[in-house]
């Protein structure tokens, strides 16, 4: 290399554009022999080298880009999605939008459940949710916060059709037209050539696609009339939703289907609220006036008593508090849940003692991972020592005994431990044969913490031995002999000279083993029973059995945070680039 490149970063093998670049810079700094140095094509050398450097950077990035995009899409995006799910809580807002809006005025401290107005909105929301079969999902979601809500929602969803039956019957007895699909269609469109209210249609499209996460796009052959939607706002809205759902979800024709009960109830409410039908001249004007006159003799629809009759839990303010607290689109509820806390009106509170399991599980996971890491150090250190101090040939042979378990399938090793540890297993059989334990009282070594610790120590031991070995190999044996010849005892020589040099190996191995063990799932699941399971088993349970994905995501995020901190520490101590395999 040139003598001038002292300003640049030295590279090991050959000169690179960067070296030349620094050389050129140095030359220019000295003033050169008058004017900038030029390259062959006449551009200043500095600029041309700069361009070469940029080209090289671009080429490197182009080579990396496909993989980076691949990993970002297949791996990082899923992790981000999980983090998002751990705070996401849109289901309350999308399933009961009107209820959420009207319940915000309710004083949650009050003894009383909300009033009639909230229940009316609840009726419209619940009716639609029940038609779309989304109410049970919301029930399940709120059940995590307040037990009993799932069955409340399920049973109420069934009874929505019957609410306000008397009014619908009265309406239909008054005039057959209220049962006629074509009449309703004409009434709601406001007749041919009437001005349409596309805003209403679009807001309802959005509402439905939020609710069902399907796409409610496309022509449905219906636009609510502008005049009628001003006159009868509730009815127009209910009918629009009905029309959208009928065409897109059920794939029927609007004008051939009788509207839902909710539409008729909405009409009753609109007429009772004093809609000015006297001035209305559009289709169905006569029927509307007749209906208004008939309804003026009937009392108001009582939504709240009707709901209370379906299930008296609707009158309990705990139910309403749960709905109110968990109505925002994002919540810390899952995270609080994951650390045995609950969100209440007064802020955050600890859960009752008998419901606290996650802190205990996190503690157990950490404790068992520490025990596993500790036993790996204890067992791995002598092995790594002897491997690095034996002659190369013997060490290589013994290395096979370490590498074979490393390469063997995890399931094979786990099933081997099941074979070894179970009460009719190999270890118990041998001990009974030797008379160490009686046939009647065989040791319980599986489906508990002991089983998990033994099996996982075995499985993770190679991950401890390999980094330790690669560090110990670099410690010259002459150091120990020098220490001894200077008068150190065996122990002093080891403890003061050898051990400090092997600490990086212990650190690397420990962090690796700890990171791996903290997120283990398969082995604890098979040999752990109930007392030897980890937090990851709980995460899997919430994903596949209890379907509480938000909680699973929150638990996973906490675990991920712990691992990332350790990963960062590993990077500081060992460096990601120095990870070696085999």
């Amino acid at each position: 290399m040139s003598k001038l490149n002292s300003t640049g970063q030295q590279t090991a093998d050959a000169p690179t554009p960067e070296d030349a670049f620094h050389e050129a810079a140095a030359l220019e700094g000295k003033g050169g022999n008058g004017g900038p140095v030029l390259s062959a094509d006449g551009t200043p050398l500095k600029r041309s080298l700069n361009r070469a450097l940029r080209m090289q950077k671009m080429r490197a990035l182009m080579l990396i880009a496909p993989l980076l995009i691949f990993v970002l899409v297949t791996f990082i995006a899923p992790i981000a999605d999980m983090l998002f799910r751990s705070v996401e809580n849109q289901i309350v807002g999308t399933t009961l939008p009107r209820t959420v809006e009207s319940v915000s005025d309710w004083d949650a401290e009050a003894e009383e459940a909300p009033g009639e107005a909230v229940f009316e909105q609840l009726y419209y929301d619940m009716f639609l949710a029940a038609e779309a079969k989304e109410h049970t999902k919301l029930g399940t979601r709120l059940n995590y916060e307040q037990t009993g809500i799932a069955s409340l929602f399920r049973s109420s969803g069934r009874d929505m059709d019957d609410l306000g039956e008397d009014y619908i019957d009265a309406l239909e007895d008054l005039d057959e037209a209220w049962e006629d699909e074509a009449f309703w269609y004409a009434l709601m469109t406001g007749g041919e050539d009437a001005a349409g209210n596309t805003d209403l249609l679009n807001t309802q499209r959005k509402r439905l696609s939020n609710l069902t996460s399907d796409n409610f796009k496309g022509d449905i052959g219906f636009v609510p009339g502008a005049e009628i939607s001003q006159l009868l706002p509730n009815t127009a809205r209910a009918y629009t939703v009905f029309a959208l759902f009928t065409v897109i979800a059920d794939e029927d024709v609007v004008s051939e289907e009788e509207p839902w009960e909710a539409v008729k109830i909405a009409l009753v409410q609109d007429l009772k609220a004093g809609a000015d039908v006297a001035a209305y001249e559009g289709p169905g004007a006569a029927e509307l006036r007749a209906a208004r006159d008939m309804l003026s003799d009937m009392p108001e629809i009582a939504f709240k008593p009707a709901f209370l009759e379906i299930d008296e839990d609707w009158g309990a303010n705990e139910t309403w508090r749960a709905i109110k607290i968990f109505s925002p689109p994002f919540t810390s509820g899952y995270f609080l849940n994951a650390v045995d806390m609950a969100k209440t009106l007064d802020g955050v509170e600890a859960r009752p003692e008998n419901q606290q399991i996650y802190i205990m599980l996190f503690k157990r996971t950490l404790f068992m991972s520490l025990v596993i890491t500790g036993s790996c150090i204890l067992l791995g250190y002598p092995v790594a020592w002897i491997l690095s101090n034996l002659p190369m040939r013997t060490a290589n042979l013994l290395m096979i005994l370490v590498l074979l378990p490393f390469w063997t399938s995890l399931l094979v090793r786990t099933s081997a431990w099941k074979v070894m540890l179970q009460s009719q297993g190999v270890i118990n059989d041998v001990m009974v044969w030797l008379g160490l334990v009686g046939d009647g009282d065989r040791l319980v070594m599986i489906n508990n913490q002991f089983g998990t610790i033994v099996a996982m120590t075995h499985i993770l031991l190679p991950f401890m031995i390999l980094p330790m070995y690669s560090v110990m190999q670099t410690i010259p044996p002459s150091y120990l002999r020098a220490a001894k010849s200077l008068g150190a005892t065996n122990w002093t020589a080891f403890w003061r000279v050898y051990f400090p040099q092997s600490v990086p190996g212990i650190g690397a191995g420990s962090i690796l083993v700890f990171i791996l063990s903290i997120g283990y799932y398969i082995t604890p699941e098979i040999v752990g029973g109930t007392t030897g399971t980890f937090i990851s088993n709980r995460i899997a349970y919430h994903i596949s059995s209890s379907l509480n994905w938000g909680l699973a995501a929150a638990l996973g995020s906490i675990l991920l945070a712990v691992v990332l901190i350790l990963y960062w520490a590993y990077d500081k101590i060992v460096g990601i680039d120095n990870v070696k395999l085999g």
């Binding site: 074979l404 190999v426 990870v579």
Partner: protein, 396 residues
């Protein structure tokens, strides 16, 4: 250490040798004794018998009759073992006999000093061998579980444990029926087929993307090198259960959950760190002036890559590929969530087998997998040596 030629092998006095072998005999006798009912009696008898044998061998027969004496002990112990515990007893007895025959002469003739430096104190010698015994026990712990499943997979019964017939070495106790079950059962064959069709595609994806990126990463001027490296290595560091959960949520949004390609993409992502690590490690020793030389002689970048660079880094690429393959072939957590019944792989089938119906077919599969992993281990080791030879290092 091997340069030291001083040896310190000399015959030890009987007053040292006899208590030592007696103690060892007593220790062995403890197990025989407890197996037969009385531990204390066993210790006394063991110590007495072995000490007596030691006296016979060392004091009377001497070094000249060593071969005869050792065979005599083997036969005697084998017969005693047979009387106490039938055929398994015979095997254990013969092994005990072989060990004690060797041990008596090893102690009595002072041969244990042969490979040690002569200035060690007796305490240091004792520690030296205790340490070796401890290491031996750890190696035993490492390898026993894997060895134990092999004979059990030939069990004639549907048990997970050694039957009395097996211990009597009765041919009736052994059979290949679990292997037959594996090769004929539709569930297992489907699982095998799924594993075989998922792993290579995932490996191909991670090797082709990974090698390109590793070459990019190993050039000198990569902006954000550390950040990129951290992202690419992260699938190895993030716990599998978290990756599985995230992929399950995200892939179900995309409609990939429960599909073949979903599993392949997930496995490819998991295999990438291994490819990156092994290939970048190989590229450290790659002489960059070779590519410049090729370019100088008129080769375009593609030709340079395939004719110059690729042959040299091929060992690293292949062993990275093997790591990626074994990761996918072995993986169970992610496929459990991302896959559906149609993508049931071999480890998944084993996992359900272990949780629900316990059948020794699992052990037959395990034995086959161990055989496969031995082959892979050998391949990787050979490749590593070849790569080091190519780079001019002495293979270690």
């Amino acid at each position: 250490m091997s340069a030291i030629t001083l040896e310190h092998v000399e015959k030890k006095p009987l007053s040292f040798a006899l208590p030592v072998v007696g103690a060892a005999g007593g220790f062995a006798g403890l197990f025989v004794g407890t197996a037969q009912g009385s531990g204390i009696l066993g210790v006394a008898a063991g110590a007495g018998i072995i000490a007596l044998m030691g006296f016979l061998c060392l004091g009377i027969l001497g070094k000249e009759m060593e071969r005869v004496a050792r065979w005599g002990i083997v036969v005697l112990m084998a017969v005693a073992g047979f009387l106490l515990g039938a055929l398994p007893g015979l095997v254990v007895g013969a092994l005990f006999g072989w060990f004690f025959g060797w041990f008596i002469y090893w102690i009595g003739e002072g041969r244990y000093r042969a490979k040690l430096v002569p200035y060690l104190t007796p305490g240091q010698v004792l520690w030296h061998f205790t340490f070796r015994v401890i290491c031996g026990m750890i190696f035993f712990f490492l390898i026993t579980p894997i060895v134990v499943v092999m004979p059990l997979s030939f069990n004639a019964e549907n048990f997970f444990t050694f039957t009395p017939e097996m211990l009597r070495f009765d041919p009736e106790g052994y059979s290949l029926k679990h292997y037959r079950d594996f090769f004929t059962n539709a569930d297992w064959q489907q699982a095998l087929w799924n594993s075989v069709s998922i792993a290579p595609v995932a490996t191909l994806l991670s090797v082709s993307f990974g090698t390109l990126a590793a070459i990019g990463l190993s050039s000198e001027h990569v902006p954000f090198r550390r950040a990129i490296m951290a992202i690419l290595i992260s699938p190895m560091i993030v716990p599998l259960i978290i990756s599985a959960a995230g992929m399950y949520f995200f892939y179900s949004r995309l409609g990939l959950q429960g599909t073949y390609w979903g599993v392949v993409l997930a496995h490819a992502a998991l295999g990438i760190p291994f490819v990156i690590i092994t290939v970048t490690a190989t590229l450290v020793g790659f002489d960059r002036s070779l590519t410049r030389a090729a370019a100088n002689m008129g080769a375009n970048p593609v030709t340079t890559f395939f004719r110059v660079q690729m042959p040299l880094i091929l060992p690293g690429v292949i062993s990275g590929g093997l790591f990626a393959f074994i990761t996918s072939f072995d993986e169970v957590v992610v496929v459990l969530f991302v896959g559906s019944a149609g993508q049931k792989t071999l480890p998944w089938q084993m996992f359900t087998g272990l949780r629900e119906q316990i059948s020794p077919t699992i052990l037959a599969v395990a034995t086959i997998l161990v055989a496969i992993s031995i082959c892979l281990l050998t391949t990787v080791e050979l490749l590593r040596r070849r790569s080091e030879r190519l780079r001019g290092m002495s293979p270690g």
